[in-house]
Amino acid sequence: MFSYTIKRFLMMIMTILIIATLTFILMHSIPGSPFNEERTTNETIQANLERFYKLDEPLPVQYMYYLKSIVTLDFGPSIKKPNETVNELLARGFPISFELGMVTILVAVISGVLLGTFAALRHNGIIDYFAMTFAVIGISVPSFVLATLLIQKLAVDYNIFPPATWSSPMHMVLPVLALATGPMAIIARLTRSSMLEVLTQDYIKMARAKGLSPFRIVARHALRNALMPVVTIMGTMLAGILTGTFVIEKIFAIPGMGKYFVESINNRDYPVIMGTTVFYSTILVFMLFVVDLVYGFLDPRIKLHKKEGDA
């Protein structure tokens, strides 16, 4: 287990470095610069700005600064928001995105698993059809459509929830609903199909034969195995949702970090592009790593350390 963890950890570092390097290359190969605006600033001023952000240095030198910024975890000041460093932007935006993401994931997982399980237990029954119709709608309706609809109906027409901004738990309801519906539907479908498969297995029959209560069979024996595919997709899903979703954050005016991904690229705000990419890939790679570890706990048949030890 230990050597596996170490090995995976080193691979994580390598992956992040490769992503970081690719980002750097791509970033500098697209035309345009942070100071390219409709209103042209005077050339001397532009030169001053470039000198300030070290953009006048040759690319290899900039790359070295960049690597240094990754190692020291200090991405320097943003170009478009000169009074703030990238670290400050991330430190401010991430907790909010994380909070929204965590609540969303909880809602999505709990309701998705419940929905999927009930659908499987009542296979081809009314509940099943209802749940799966709901899931198909959930998957096919994009979150931003749902978001606009929710605001219009629940905030503007009926005035139950505030339409946007981020200040009280009431403000969380609409964005969480909009954001959780898609993942919930995916989880429900996955749970249902793997549950159906698991329920036909011999050991479930065995459990029934032993006379265990249906609840115990489902909760203790079936669900645990049925959740494997859910756990598999959770890694990417978590990384995506926790680091902020641009569209939902924009629609609900949530001050998370989602917008920095898109804005920084439009603005060619190099330090922010680098900061967000490295941050996102670190979280993504880390989540995948956690998922691999969780496999082992959920299914004792997957013995990571032995396999890796042999290799």
């Binding site: 697209i30 035309p31 345009g32 209103r39 001023i45 009074n83 401010r92 965590m102 606009t148 200040s167």
Partner: protein, 547 residues
């Protein structure tokens, strides 16, 4: 193994709990505040709810050169002059302004009762400090070019001169003096710009980052910054130290930062905002609403020909394309935002010494005329010896509005000239850099004024200007602009500028589409929001009555 699982679950649970508690804490404070607001509001407190779109880039007067910073900052600070309700500059922090006979030396006498929000007196030194900071090459202020009217400023800013040679000084505590390189009619207007705001020297030397948080921010405007949750919300309160505090009727301004027009509009409908933009999909529907306010904005939406690339090397072909454009149709059926069609480059909002609009005096310099267009195209093609016109590609930066206009132009060229123009769209930042490199034949553009004088717009097209981007160069035009800048007689200067615009539109390296405007939805109980054609949002005179 189970223990591990339990541990992991506990860890996740704990994380969620902390996230939730963090939320509860963070959530309760504003919720409480809202409660307070509602209570006190009934006690006649006047709170205006606005949306700033996004987090201000910077409240450092020298740095944040954009509307999201300056619409707000304009109400927190004040320069020597301020634009009045009629958009003309009036004395503000300065009580009296003396101009020397040659129009070069300005002496500003600062009000005795001009105070900073922390109670300090506003002094001439604060202006020297603020302006020096803007011009300092190390600040890299994007607004520094506005200061080039001051003697020695350009040299200092470009690193060739010294600060001692910049002709501005604090004569005494309350007297500030500057000397210009040439008489500049627009000078009192230019210094209403936020980059010319004073900076409290004492505050700034103690804390170089004074402008980044509400706690440390010190202003001298009608309002003071009392709370600033970055990326989320700002609260302004009436500044009791402001010299003209009696005029200010609002008690508070709360700014949301909603960067989605539809959401903004929905919040407006839900009475969470008093002012909103008009979502473009609803423009046609809402334009006739009584809550819509339309104001001029000095600036032009136009297209650039590349005069170094065939077929637009030929003047007649350029004119053919320009006269094939029906501006009226575009504003009426395409943009549908209440804009005025543009038949010249300089927009409305500039009155000459005779009191007449620049635009009206010059008149229409380009108008739709399909027959004339066809004729010009034939003549042009003959001159160049073309049997068929080289392929023309029209390039625009990716956006729905730009695309709609581009498609309309494509149809108009086809209809009037029988020419099939190809369309290409390019991502914004790439577009900006490639346009400067003259890589496009025909491309969209826009100009918004930095200060309220026609020369600001027209001089874009002098030879070698970074705003030129057409490859066009005309000695007569360059001379007219140079003469206008040196001219001391206001009427003569005005005439030179009008002549320059005529030369420009005669050779037509560009053609205009429409002038900009500022459209907003505004609750009927709100009055007095001033939107200048050039300048920033002013809330000094705003009043809000209870519905």
């Amino acid at each position: 193994m189970k223990k591990w699982l339990l541990l992991l679950l506990t860890a996740v649970f704990a994380l969620v709990l902390t996230a939730c508690t963090a939320n509860n804490d963070a959530g309760e404070k504003p919720a409480d505040k809202d409660g307070e607001d509602k209570e006190t509001e009934t006690a006649e407190e006047k709170v205006l709810y606005l949306n700033n779109g996004s987090e201000p880039t910077s409240f450092d007067p020298s740095v944040g050169f954009d509307a999201v910073s300056w619409n707000a900052l304009n109400n927190l600070m004040e320069g020597l002059t301020r634009l009045g309700e009629d958009h003309q500059p009036v004395e503000a922090t300065a009580e009296k302004i003396d101009v020397s006979e040659d129009g070069l030396t300005y002496t500003f006498h600062i009000r005795e009762d001009a105070k900073w929000s922390n109670g300090d007196a506003v002094t001439a030194k604060d202006f020297v400090y603020g302006w020096t900071r803007m011009l300092d090459p190390n600040t890299a202020s994007p607004a520094a070019f506005l200061g080039y009217f001051i003697e020695g400023a350009e040299a200092f800013n470009t690193g060739e001169g010294k600060i001692e040679d910049v002709a501005m000084k604090a004569v005494d505590e309350k007297t500030f003096e500057v000397k210009l390189t040439a008489p500049t009619d627009a000078f009192l207007n230019i210094i209403t710009n936020p980059s010319f705001f004073p900076i409290n020297e004492k505050v700034a030397t103690e804390n170089a980052e004074w402008f980044t948080e509400a706690e440390s921010f010190v202003g001298n405007g009608p309002f003071q910054l009392t709370s600033w949750e970055h990326d989320a919300k700002m609260v302004f309160e009436k500044n009791p130290e402001y010299w003209d505090a009696d005029t200010v009727k609002l008690d508070k301004v709360e700014w949301a930062m909603v960067n989605d027009t539809n959401t903004e509009y929905q919040m407006y409908q839900a009475n969470e905002l008093d002012v909103s933009d008009v979502p473009s999909e609803l423009a046609a529907e809402l334009m006739d609403s009584e809550e819509v306010s339309i104001q001029d904005q000095a600036g032009t939406y136009f297209y650039r020909f590349n005069t170094t690339m065939e077929p637009f090397t030929n003047e007649k072909i350029r004119k053919a394309f320009a006269t094939a454009v029906n501006q009226q149709e575009i504003v009426e059926f395409v943009t549908k935002n209440g804009e005025k069609p543009a038949h010249g480059f300089v927009s409305y909002g500039f009155q000459g010494p005779d009191g007449k609009e620049f635009r009206d005096t010059v008149g229409n310099l380009v108008e739709f005329n399909a027959e004339e267009a066809k004729k010009l195209l034939e003549e042009g093609m003959k001159e160049e010896g073309y049997d068929t016109l080289p392929t023309v590609t029209l390039t625009y930066s990716t956006s729905d509005t730009h695309q709609n206009i581009a498609v309309a132009l494509q149809a108009q060229f086809k209809e009037a000239l029988g020419v099939d123009v190809e369309l290409a769209n390019v991502e914004g930042s790439v577009f900006a850099s490639e346009q400067k490199e003259l890589k496009y034949q025909l491309s969209r553009s826009s100009f918004l004024h930095d200060y309220a004088d026609p020369v600001n717009a027209i001089e874009s097209f002098i030879t070698g200007s970074s705003m030129n981007r057409t490859g066009w160069s005309n000695a007569e035009f360059d001379k007219l602009i140079a003469d206008a800048k040196a001219e001391t007689d206001a009427a003569a200067r005005w005439q030179l500028l009008m002549d320059a615009e005529k030369v420009l539109m005669d050779e037509m390296p560009i053609f205009p589409i429409h002038f900009y405007n500022q459209v907003a939805l505004q609750k009927p109980n709100v009055s007095g929001i001033v939107r200048h054609p050039v300048g920033y949002l002013d809330l000094k005179w705003v009043d809000k009555t209870n519905e």
